[in-house]
Symmetry: D3
Amino acid sequence: MRVVVSVGGSVLAPDLAHERVEQYADVIDQLVDAGCSVGVVVGGGGVARDYIKTARDLGANEIELDDIGISVTRLNAQLLIAALGDDAAPSPAESYEEAGEAIRRGDVAIMGGVTAGQTTDAVSAALAEYTNADLLVYATSVPGVFSADPKTDDSAERYDRITPGELVDAIADIEMSAGSSAPVDLLAAKLIERSRVRAIVLDGTEPTAVLDAVLRGEHDGTDIVP
Amino acid sequence: MRVVVSVGGSVLAPDLAHERVEQYADVIDQLVDAGCSVGVVVGGGGVARDYIKTARDLGANEIELDDIGISVTRLNAQLLIAALGDDAAPSPAESYEEAGEAIRRGDVAIMGGVTAGQTTDAVSAALAEYTNADLLVYATSVPGVFSADPKTDDSAERYDRITPGELVDAIADIEMSAGSSAPVDLLAAKLIERSRVRAIVLDGTEPTAVLDAVLRGEHDGTDIVP
Amino acid sequence: MRVVVSVGGSVLAPDLAHERVEQYADVIDQLVDAGCSVGVVVGGGGVARDYIKTARDLGANEIELDDIGISVTRLNAQLLIAALGDDAAPSPAESYEEAGEAIRRGDVAIMGGVTAGQTTDAVSAALAEYTNADLLVYATSVPGVFSADPKTDDSAERYDRITPGELVDAIADIEMSAGSSAPVDLLAAKLIERSRVRAIVLDGTEPTAVLDAVLRGEHDGTDIVP
Amino acid sequence: MRVVVSVGGSVLAPDLAHERVEQYADVIDQLVDAGCSVGVVVGGGGVARDYIKTARDLGANEIELDDIGISVTRLNAQLLIAALGDDAAPSPAESYEEAGEAIRRGDVAIMGGVTAGQTTDAVSAALAEYTNADLLVYATSVPGVFSADPKTDDSAERYDRITPGELVDAIADIEMSAGSSAPVDLLAAKLIERSRVRAIVLDGTEPTAVLDAVLRGEHDGTDIVP
Amino acid sequence: MRVVVSVGGSVLAPDLAHERVEQYADVIDQLVDAGCSVGVVVGGGGVARDYIKTARDLGANEIELDDIGISVTRLNAQLLIAALGDDAAPSPAESYEEAGEAIRRGDVAIMGGVTAGQTTDAVSAALAEYTNADLLVYATSVPGVFSADPKTDDSAERYDRITPGELVDAIADIEMSAGSSAPVDLLAAKLIERSRVRAIVLDGTEPTAVLDAVLRGEHDGTDIVP
Amino acid sequence: MRVVVSVGGSVLAPDLAHERVEQYADVIDQLVDAGCSVGVVVGGGGVARDYIKTARDLGANEIELDDIGISVTRLNAQLLIAALGDDAAPSPAESYEEAGEAIRRGDVAIMGGVTAGQTTDAVSAALAEYTNADLLVYATSVPGVFSADPKTDDSAERYDRITPGELVDAIADIEMSAGSSAPVDLLAAKLIERSRVRAIVLDGTEPTAVLDAVLRGEHDGTDIVP
């Protein structure tokens, strides 16, 4: 089984604490031991936000801010690589080809962002598409896809299971509401729709949730099933 | 004045005929002579569609198809570079940094696609954002942004002037309708909204229309004004 | 047994039809199943000729035309890679080192042109030399090496078996005649002479001819035996 | 006059605050306006220390830690590039050749670390050597070269002026004392000795100190004069 | 006037002596002062022969030997770059694009070999073609093109002026004779024929001969005139 | 067992003779057969000294001289690669990541220098550190670490066994004496101290000495044991 796991930067290393990174490395090792081939895409988190804020104050444009964010995602990827040791390709992959090549060799491929104008949400979907993954798991800080932003709308309900088309509609609605943030962005949703990959959005603050979702199909998030 | 021009592959070289490429090279030369610094993003057109169809029949996944499309956009970029001669950087830029560097040196920068999951529409908007362009012109095969797809809906009306936010809404509506094609895609619209660059969508089958739009502000397309 | 197969672009994908590409992929799979390690060099064909004609009309010099041709050979290589799926390295190799590395890893290596001033004929011979191949097969649109150009000279006779030195002489004679085209070019012939690799030139419009030649030593083309 | 300025990460952006970065950008602009060609090498600072601590806890070896540190130095370099805008080459140089090329073109070159096993102290000295700089300024958190570590030894005296050979001896002595930290490391000192470049070590917490030192020869640090 | 100068390795630095390299640097400086834009291609010479002999004894194949030869040509190019200082691009160009880009910027471009299967003779002709040079000068150890190999055939006569077609014939004849060496190889001759660049083959042991040939049209070698 | 072997250029190929290279290839093959994974770092030797002398006479600065030296180390690495054939990665690794990747794949990794300001002594120590090697062997032209330079000081005594800290002190003392040369340089000693890798310095003019040291722990050099 081929799995791509997308881990937000703040989910992977809140305050750069090493414990969570170790837990994720342990989860990935167990996936490998269970016979999975694994690609991981790591986000930027709080360090990215700090650098981007400073760079914006210094007059950087949005593409330069994206580039700075990508640099931080790769730093975070280096942490996960350090924790995985010999199981992972030793440098963050900078393209889908490089990640796919590592997976073909039998390594765990770790990557961050790829290019400006694409979040790591979209990179995760593209990597799943490129490697013909069986499953794509988003380990985020919100526990699934909601009918609205749960932080701002009490009536927001979590979907247990939706189609990729419904995901695109739900995300489009959320993105149109000022100030809301979606668990994955619209480009990612459209790539998921295009590739028809099965996906799960779940709360990643407890890393073993990923393990349960992948190996046992059990989770409290949202299933996206074509 | 810094201008980014986005030229569809079929607009640049229908049937690979050299005449249209020459006309575009001539338009770009006149922009340079008028003191503009210019970046150009070239699309894939019919050759890309032919290769993508064949590759899809051969079992390629969507990211591989994107990669093939990107290869064709760069081939088309090589044609425009050949026509421009010493005014253009001699190879298609493969990143925003490379294109921006060429423009800083005083060259015309020509590029095609950058990475899978992004059309050349989005690349154009990102290049405009990265280079802090004053104007972004989409030379497409449809004469502007419409309230619906003009090919399939007789009541579709062309907008003369809209805001970036309205552009995002209009494109989102069109993309949600099965079978419709928008003049620029949603990711591009969102990048335009984010960067607040002034943009024009116009019919590029007559290349001088780009010249009139940039130098004299005259065109029959849609103005996107923040 | 290590084999390098050189497939002309028009032989691989006449009119970009996918059927022939599939047949070639099937032949390569059978070679791999029979225990061969395989490198393939793909030519540019009709699409290359179309782009080169347009670029020449636009004033490109010969090296720029070579570069455009190389871009098309790599596009064609991407088609064959798509058809081969996981058996092939996922991107066209751009150097002999990269191709050799893929073959050492157990992948089928697919490449197009390498640098201006060298045809894919010569690239094929160089790849055979670099990888110490046991056999080099040219799958061309003419059924072997002739004493003259069979298209223009009725008395042209096909050689069944010649030495590399005789190949060089034959090719040199053909290249000196205005308007004639040789099945492989002179640089390729000289590389074959230098490396003393066994080679076969045969009609590749029926892909299984390559299979018969490699696995059973049966073909209707020309054997080049040091 | 060609100047290389080495700025510690904590000196450039304590707590990632943008004000100090802006001040350094302003100082560099004034150097350029005064006719200097300028290369800047940026260190890793507190963010580097945080990431390195986490990675060490995760089991990274020293070279991997160096690589993580280098990634952070380049992030910091991106901040300074954002502040400098069009005066600086748009990406951090990753080699002396790339930095030297930018300087030859008339850009300010900004770089971070280059390779494991070399601090940015040494990179600064090597860049000065490679570009035949007239002056190398270390803007550090200690106000010069001392006879011992001033943080731990009350009798430590600052040298006003020493030779490169004396610098090497002083640094070697400090490095031999457990727990002490030198203002520049021994490899840097040896490169300074080898290249015979004039150098100044000064307190960089007030960025205009660099300006006074370069343009007016006035500073409260240590002059290293061959 | 744009000139490409091809200098054999043994012509540039017999026994690695620096005097000849300085003389060539001086000649190139004078060409630049006279308003020429200049590209130089450097060969491998005696060091290349020594390394190739050793590598052949160690079992390297011909492509590996070519690669070793290319490495030495780049080493020799580094010597000429050192002698030229700020007039030359600081690293040997590794492709025609890179060399052409340096020349467009106003630098002298220095390169060695490019890829296996091509001598620096052919690289020189290709660089002249790519940069649309007005003149290509081969500074070799033999004083022109002869009717046969002057070292082995007393009746060999030097041609004062021949056409590119005659050059191809003459070189083909020489190459067919076992043991003979031509002043330029056949691939180079064919590229000269294809590009129709004016070329001169002359004795380069006296570097000022290149100056006289380029600036005053005076030389004792062979003119190749389309 | 993972071993990094550092071989001086003059030790590997005195006068470019192939016999010694063959012996070293044979030793490496025996290490591989005994189950070791092996990385080798090759120095520049006499050819490097010759090129550096010429380049210094031509006005090159120290970094340019380092770069020329690095080019020669890679040439020498190509010789050892040729001798090893299919056991070695086919090109010299240019970074620790590339070398580590080759070793992970099961190849012998061969590299030369990496960047200016670092000798191959230091590269060897860094490669050992990066790959978590069990043992680092310096095959040099002096038979161990001495209390002084044995060439100039008759009272110099070879240490049989020292700690990394003592190594640093010993090397620092030798480097401070004008005209003396240490068996490994100070940066290398400090990296050994930092990584706590076990190391051996021995006379490499008889290649089998490396074999005895690695496989049987027998040698006449100096053991460095943390």
